[in-house]
């Protein structure tokens, strides 16, 4: 069934045909008559086909036990409906050929429980390992592998103690059932579906081995009673653990997806902001390019006219190198801001970040006729944060301030950026002399999609605040209408 679930329906006949030689070889060696072997082949194939077809109808494509829905479909179709339907066929064939003992319904019941346990143990094990993939498993950190080994050894050890030792005290039996449970729960919470199905498979094998050898709590009764009790126990343990592992996996995946989407949105907002700054950035690159070109052309003319000495030529070359370095610095900062990637927390000097973003924003401020004043604390303890994300917040506040100052006369356009450290926190402030905002508008400013700009997305401040909150900090604005606005960031220092 697992093979069918992983392959397209058009290849199922090949898989079923391929199973026949293996089936014949295995069963004929055990002395089973050919008619019975073929009968079992038919009933086993019908079980696999019924289960796979039902599941494919509800979950299109290869089955991945990656959601409550797909696990539920597997339990109902693969582990319940298919074994139930095929057990009737199986028992009928047994009675027809005359190979088994007992009445028809007893045969149905025995086959049903055995098949449910087999489907519950083998199918999720194969499907979850194929879904996980060899590469994903290999790429797990060493400590994760070590944890998996500890958990699986724990399941093995606890199962051996519980189910594979002679039962010396009948009163102990109920307590023994719980011995593997802590390790099984550990597997469900920490190792995902593949780890949980492996742990369950270990417990099932060990339990069956104990029962077959007359050891553990499943011994002492008739073979039929023992088998039924053991199968019921293993089925009852497997179903909730499998569902728990799948639901936890699903939740972790949803959280990962939400995290990735947040990162993507942050990146898109950053790229949009850099797009708005394109004019200023062009200015910032054109300035050093002008210095390079004019210096180089002056040198060409001087050399052609033999009107330059080595000292002056050296000075020109030095100036060219200086201008090139300035352009390269702008490009390197831009590249870093354009890149998307995971959050990388590191020790940072907030003053240095302010200076860096001011370099990038310089062109924009100059072209808008805005003067910038830096009032940075001479000593500012470092903060822990993601350089790019914090620079994004600062650039956002600078650009908002610049946008707010299109109204006032150019002599009054002033951006003041300050930093100060108080009580284990670094406070960074960005003050403009624009129209400001009413106190009741404060929270609205931080809402997504709220904007006062003609072409703004309205995400800048909302994303900025979520970045600062994720850094363990706070962000707020202060304003008296007509007197400009000041936005503050408070970040914990280390």
């Amino acid at each position: 069934m697992a093979a069918l679930l992983l392959m397209p329906a058009r290849t199922w006949w090949v898989l079923l045909a391929a199973a026949l030689p293996a089936h014949l070889l295995a069963e004929l060696q055990s002395g089973v008559p050919l008619a019975m072997v073929l009968g079992w082949y038919v009933s086993n194939c019908s079980e696999a086909l019924i289960g796979a077809a039902l599941m494919r109808a509800f979950v299109p494509g290869p089955l991945r036990l990656d959601s409550f829905h797909s696990a539920g479909v597997f339990l109902l179709c693969g582990a319940l409906a298919a074994p139930l339907a095929s057990s009737f066929l199986d028992a009928a064939l047994v009675k027809l050929i005359g190979w088994g003992q007992g009445d028809y319904l007893e045969l149905v019941r025995m086959r049903f429980f055995a098949n449910v346990l087999a489907e519950l143990t083998i199918v999720p094990l194969i499907v979850s390992w194929v879904a996980l993939g060899w590469r994903a498993w290999r790429s797990q950190p060493l400590v994760r592998h070590a944890e998996a080994v500890v958990v699986l050894l724990g399941v093995l050890g606890a199962s051996l103690v519980a189910f594979d030792v002679p039962l010396f005290d009948a009163n102990m039996a109920p307590a023994l059932f719980y011995a593997p449970l802590p390790f099984l729960l550990w597997a469900a919470v920490r190792l995902g579906t593949a780890g949980t199905t492996t742990a369950l498979a270990i417990m099932v094998v060990v339990t069956i081995w104990g029962a077959v050898h007359g050891l553990g709590p499943f011994s002492g009764g008739t073979p039929q009673d023992t088998a039924r009790e053991m199968q019921l126990f293993l089925i009852v343990v497997s179903i909730p653990l499998l569902l728990l592992a799948v639901v936890l996996d699903e939740r972790a995946r949803t959280e990962r997806e939400a995290h990735d989407q947040r990162l993507q949105l942050t990146h898109l907002s950053r790229v949009a902001m850099l797009g708005e700054m394109s004019g200023g950035l062009a200015h910032e690159l054109n300035q050093p390019l002008t210095a390079i070109l004019s210096n180089a052309q002056a040198a060409q003319t001087f050399i052609a006219n033999k009107a330059i000495d080595d000292a002056e030529l050296l000075e020109i070359l030095r100036d060219i190198v200086g201008a090139e370095q300035r352009a390269a610095e702008v490009i390197s900062r831009l590249r870093a801001l354009f890149k998307s990637g995971e959050t990388h927390m590191q020790r940072l000097d907030a003053n240095e970040l302010i200076r860096e973003v001011m370099t990038l924003a310089h062109g924009d401020l100059v072209t808008r006729g805005i003067q910038a004043e830096l009032r940075l604390a001479p000593i500012l303890p470092p903060v822990k944060g993601d350089r790019i994300q914090l620079e994004q917040v600062m650039l956002n506040l600078i650009m908002n301030a610049a946008e707010a100052m299109t109204g006032p006369a150019s002599s009054e356009r002033m951006l003041t950026v300050s930093s100060i450290a108080v009580d284990g926190r670094a406070y960074l402030s960005f003050a403009d002399r624009g129209p400001g905002f009413l106190p009741e508008m404060h929270e609205k400013l931080f809402e997504p999609y709220y904007t006062t700009k003609a072409q703004g997305l309205g995400l800048g401040l909302s994303i900025s605040r979520s970045i600062i909150l994720a850094h363990g900090g706070r962000m707020w604005g202060v304003s008296s209408p007509g007197r400009g606005a000041t936005f503050h960031i408070a970040l914990p220092t280390i």
């Binding site: 004019g279 054109n286 002056a298 100036d319 062109g363 072209t367 006729g369 150019s410």
Partner: protein
């Protein structure tokens, strides 16, 4: 030798442009702001002004308006690293002799200065 005033708030640009003009046989002086230029022009009137648009406190456009009111009205070649069609129109309407975008090609710059100088030399155009 014509005397050209280079008004740009960025020192590396002033230095490079002064070199370029000197290499072309022109006399050049640099000014870091509009105020510095107005003070300097009081003692030595330039024959042509090479004017950057984006400068703190007094912008290039404000200075252009002042230069147009100066005695002798030296021609102004506007240079900018942030070019927009509106600014170009405004500068030319305000009396700029030419409007050039940075980075500047030396031939284009010298041609613009030369054209500005020859125009300003025609009587009645000042």
């Amino acid at each position: 030798m014509p005397f050209i005033a280079v008004v740009d708030d960025e020192e590396p640009i002033r230095k490079a442009l002064k070199r370029l003009l000197r290499a072309a046989g022109l006399d050049a002086e640099g000014y870091a702001s509009g105020q510095a230029f107005l003070e300097g022009a009081a003692t030595r009137r330039p024959d042509c002004v090479l004017l950057d648009l984006h400068m703190p406190s007094m912008s290039g456009q404000q200075l252009l308006a002042q230069i147009r009111k100066m005695a002798g009205r030296p021609p102004v070649v506007v240079i900018t690293a942030h070019d927009t069609p509106e600014t170009r129109e405004q500068c030319l309407a305000a009396g700029a002799a030419a409007y050039l975008r940075k980075p500047l090609d030396d031939r284009m710059l010298l041609n613009a200065i030369s054209a500005a100088l020859s125009k300003s030399a025609v009587p009645g155009r000042r």
